[in-house]
């Protein structure tokens, strides 16, 4: 059994904790805010304002849903362009009110559909990535389940990116990779190994700063994340907006620099 594929299965496992639970356990006073002010409200993106130990923050989660009914309503966590545009609206709002931003990433990828293309899925993701680069407030993104390609990156252009031990982050799904490379979706385990998509791989490649172990109780995991968020946000909040944007630029500039 491929170890990487075990992680893929764990990241997708039924019953895995989703964003809404993290928001409930880590923050207080969460108020959900809806809509992109352009087209619709995308339930695959759960976002709003909250407090982290009293500090106002903006929280955005890619939310797959818990039971079947909710999963369908939330499109299994696959956002449409309006989801990314809602996220961007709230990030710009956070910038205006000088609130740090925390993103929880858990998606197989941005939704592939006719409407999504008509409304500019590519443009929406491109805009988020570009705009996140220049946000004047601290941004922290945590991959809590699946980090599926551009649809995940659209919420992960952050000052620090963290991951849970059993989450994955990948340029393409192992299924997609196997079917494109070998025209054989059954070679998915091999593809998972080749893609180097585990949290351990991400840490080795410098793509994430921190990996949270999941061996302990979920309460302990929430506590660890809360502590880490509070400490890091306190540190980052002392930096000037110029330092924050420069550090974010440099963070991504180094990947594949020759």
């Amino acid at each position: 059994m491929s170890r990487a594929y075990e992680k893929v299965q764990a990241a997708r496992a039924r019953g895995r904790t989703t964003g809404q639970k993290y928001i409930r356990e880590i923050f207080t006073d969460f108020i959900e805010l809806h809509g992109d002010r352009r087209f619709a409200d995308d339930p695959a993106v759960l976002a709003g304002i909250a407090r982290l130990r009293g500090v106002p923050v903006t929280v955005i989660a890619l939310e797959k849903g818990v039971d079947t009914k909710e999963k369908v309503r939330r499109n299994f966590g696959a956002p449409n362009p309006e989801g990314y545009r809602k996220a961007l609206r709230l990030m710009k709002q956070a910038e205006k009110f000088k609130r740090p931003i925390v993103c929880f990433v858990d998606t197989a990828g941005a939704f592939c559909g006719i409407g999504a293309e008509e409304r500019g899925q590519g443009q929406a993701i491109a805009e988020n990535i570009g705009e996140m680069m220049s946000l004047k407030v601290p941004v922290i993104s945590i991959v809590i389940g699946e980090g599926g390609s551009g649809g995940a990156l659209a919420l992960a252009v952050a000052n620090q990116v963290w991951m849970l031990e059993n989450s994955i982050y990948s340029v393409i799904s192992p299924e997609g990779c196997a079917s494109i490379l070998w025209s054989d979706a059954k070679r998915v385990k091999e593809a998972a190994d080749c893609l180097k998509l585990t949290a351990v791989d991400m840490e080795a490649l410098g793509v994430v700063e921190r990996v949270f172990p999941e061996k302990r109780s979920s309460e302990e995991v929430f506590q660890m994340i809360e502590d880490a968020l509070y400490t890091t946000i306190t540190e980052l909040s002392e930096k000037t907006s110029e330092q924050l944007t420069n550090e974010r630029y440099d963070r991504f500039r180094k990947f594949g620099a020759i």
């Binding site: 293309e117 899925q121 590519g122 491109a126 990948s170 990779c177 490379l181 620099a257 020759i258």
Partner: protein, 287 residues
């Protein structure tokens, strides 16, 4: 049959501004290509004279050197970062061989060519993606070359003109390919914030991670007629929604109809349009 020089022109001749039409006619007179739209068979040399456009208006794919040759003023192109070449950083099975084959097939080191040029007298930096190098896929070197081009253009306060053609991020470089979307976007953003002009020309096909980053970040976005442009591949969408896609879906005209492309420009008009756009962006009159 001599195939040398059929799809490729030598770098040196190009950089010297020399044209090799005569040679092309001689070597390619027997070869014909069939237009997938009108089924007309045209000799390759005739097509080339017409910038690889069929008489019916169908735009065949074009390699990056050919594009530079018709876009850049004669002798004005000077290549940058041409020596950069990908390595198999993740030890991905078969990648080394694919890279070797791609280099042999199109005699380029990577899937993008960058440099400085003049277009209709207007100086600018350009990046032109190469469809025949692993379908223009974006790995770390493609990301690095385009990033450097934007950084240099920002430093010199110069516009950037970019031709995109790409299957998306290069999966053989895993997550590091995905990171290039953020890396390039950061450089585009800085270039933009400094008040510089960025023009993208979307060509067939522009998809995936390139669409979802720098292809869609231009101040003005042009597209070639009929070009397929989208985020998800048509096959993936069909499998997801289990429906046939409507005719014209994800074509340049479809994108313009939905507000994601500023103008559609046939190849023969592109140079003139680009030059006018560069000229008008030289400076506004307001304080």
């Amino acid at each position: 049959m001599k195939l040398d020089g059929l799809f490729k022109k030598s770098k040196n001749e190009l950089e010297n501004g020399g044209r090799t039409k005569k040679v092309l006619v001689e070597t390619s007179s027997e070869i014909k290509r069939t237009c997938p739209r009108c089924e007309l068979e045209s000799p390759v040399s005739d097509l080339w004279e017409n910038l690889n456009v069929c008489t019916c208006g169908y735009h065949f794919r074009m390699n990056a050197r050919q594009r530079i040759d018709f876009i850049a003023d004669t002798g004005s192109f000077s290549e940058l970062y041409g020596e950069l070449s990908s390595t198999d950083i993740l030890e991905f099975p078969g990648y080394d061989k694919k890279l070797k084959n791609a280099k042999l097939a199109c005699r380029e080191n990577e899937a993008v060519i960058c440099g400085s040029a003049k277009i209709g007298g207007q100086p600018c930096y350009i990046f032109i993606m190469e469809p025949y190098f692993m379908m223009g896929s974006m790995g770390t070197v493609v990301g690095e070359k385009i990033t450097r081009t934007f950084e240099l253009a920002t430093e010199k306060s110069m516009p950037v003109v970019g031709y995109t053609v790409s299957g998306g991020a290069r999966m053989q470089e895993g997550i590091l390919s995905l990171m290039q979307m953020a890396k390039v976007s950061g450089a585009v953003k800085r270039h933009s914030e400094a008040g510089n002009f960025y023009l993208t020309i979307l060509t067939d096909p522009t998809t995936g991670g390139v669409t979802a980053s720098f292809a869609m970040q231009g101040d003005v976005i042009m597209a070639e007629p009929g070009a397929t442009v989208g985020f998800a591949g048509a096959r993936v969408i069909e499998q997801t929604i289990r429906k046939k896609l409507p005719t014209g879906f994800q074509r340049a005209e479809f994108l313009m109809e939905h507000g994601f492309v500023d103008l559609i420009s046939p190849r023969a008009e592109q140079k003139q349009t680009i030059s006018e756009l560069l000229s008008i962006h030289e400076g506004g009159s307001c304080l």
